[in-house]
Symmetry: C2
Subunit: 220 residues, 2 copies
Amino acid sequence: MMNQETCIVVFSGGQDSTTCLFWAMKKFKEVIAVTFNYGQRHALEIECATAICKAHGIEHHILDMSLLSQLHPNALTHHALAVEAGGKGALPTTFVPARNLLFMSFAGAVAYNKGAKHLVTGVSEADFSGYPDCRDTFMKAMNVALNLSMDQAFVIHTPLMWKDKADVWALSDQLGKLDEIKEKTLTCYEGIIGDGCGTCLSCELRKKGYEAYMKSVNKS
Amino acid sequence: MMNQETCIVVFSGGQDSTTCLFWAMKKFKEVIAVTFNYGQRHALEIECATAICKAHGIEHHILDMSLLSQLHPNALTHHALAVEAGGKGALPTTFVPARNLLFMSFAGAVAYNKGAKHLVTGVSEADFSGYPDCRDTFMKAMNVALNLSMDQAFVIHTPLMWKDKADVWALSDQLGKLDEIKEKTLTCYEGIIGDGCGTCLSCELRKKGYEAYMKSVNKS
C-alpha cells in the first residue's frame, strides 16, 4: 500500500522543477527529491538542487545516470563488444532519446521503494521544443506502463504541462517563492545562478517570461 | 524512418532469450543483440551471450546497468545525499522494481539510434513468477509509452509470452536449434553451462520442460 501523502519530485534545480518542488511541498506531507546526474554540465545544477533541498529539509537522492552516454549514437556505432560508460564529456541532452522515459522509470522505482504514491515532473507542452517525451499524451501512457510494470497505482502529476514561462513565474508567485526561485535556481547555459548571463537562449526565455508575468501583475 | 528489417533482441544468453535470438534471425534481415550487465552473478551469462553472438556473426552491445543497484531499497534507505552505484555484490534481481520497464526503455533507445523498427524480448506469462513486468498487458502499455516517447512506431515482439518451458524447447526445435541451445546457454544458478547442476530450481524447470517436450515428440 503506497503512502497517499508521499511524493517523489524529479528535481534538476532549474526554475521549472524547483517550482514543482514547492508545489509538491504545499500539496503533500512528505516530499522526496530525485536528481539525475548525467554529465559535467550539470554539476552546478546539482549544487543548486542540493542547496535548495538542504534549505527546506527535503530528502534528496542523486542518481548516477552517466550510463545515458552509452545511448549516444557515437557510442553505439563503434560496433565494439562492450560499450563503456562515458562520464567526463558533457553529453548533448538533445541526443538522448527516451530520456524522460528513463527518468520516470527510475523515479517510479524510487517511488516503489519509498512507498510513495505520487510523482511530479516539470515537463511542459507550452514551450514545446520538439521533445515528444514532454507531451501530455506520453506522460499518460508512461503512467499506465509504470503502474502495470509494478502492479501499483502511482499518479504522475505534471503541474506545468500547459504553462509557458510567464505562467510558471505566476505559479511560483502564488506559492510565495518567486524571489527564491529567481535567485537560487540555475537555468543559464553559462552556469550563472539566478538571472544568469542574460544573453543565452535559456536566459532569454526565462527573462521574457518573467517580464511578461511582471507586466501582467502591474496591469491588474 | 525505421528499418522494417532490423530487430533489437534483449539477450541474456539464457535459454529463453537465445530462442528469441534464433527466432528473430529467421524473421528479420538484421539482428542486433543487447545484453544488460548488472551484477557479478551474470558474468558467465554474458560470456555465453558473447560466444553465441560471435558464433553467428551477430552485432552485440553490452550495456552497463550497474546503476540498477542504486534502486535497491538498501541503497535508498541510507538517506545519503549521493547514492553510489554498487557493482561488486550480486544484486538479487527480485528486488529490482521496474526492471523490464528500464530494459525495454534502453533497448528502445538503442533501436532509435540504430534505426531498428522491431524489438524482441523473451518474457513469458506461462511460467508466471509474480513479476508484473513480464505480463502481456504491461508489454503492450510499454510499447505505447515507448512509441510516444520518441514519436516512432516500434513493434515489441514477445514470441514466448504464452509458452511454458516445454513449448520453448519445441520452438527451438522448430528453429533447428534445440541442441545448440541445450549445450551453449546458461540457466543454472550454479553457473554451469548447458544442462547445469541439475538440482537448482532453474535446472529443474529447464529439465522438466525438456523431458515434457521429448515425451510429446516420442509420442507423436
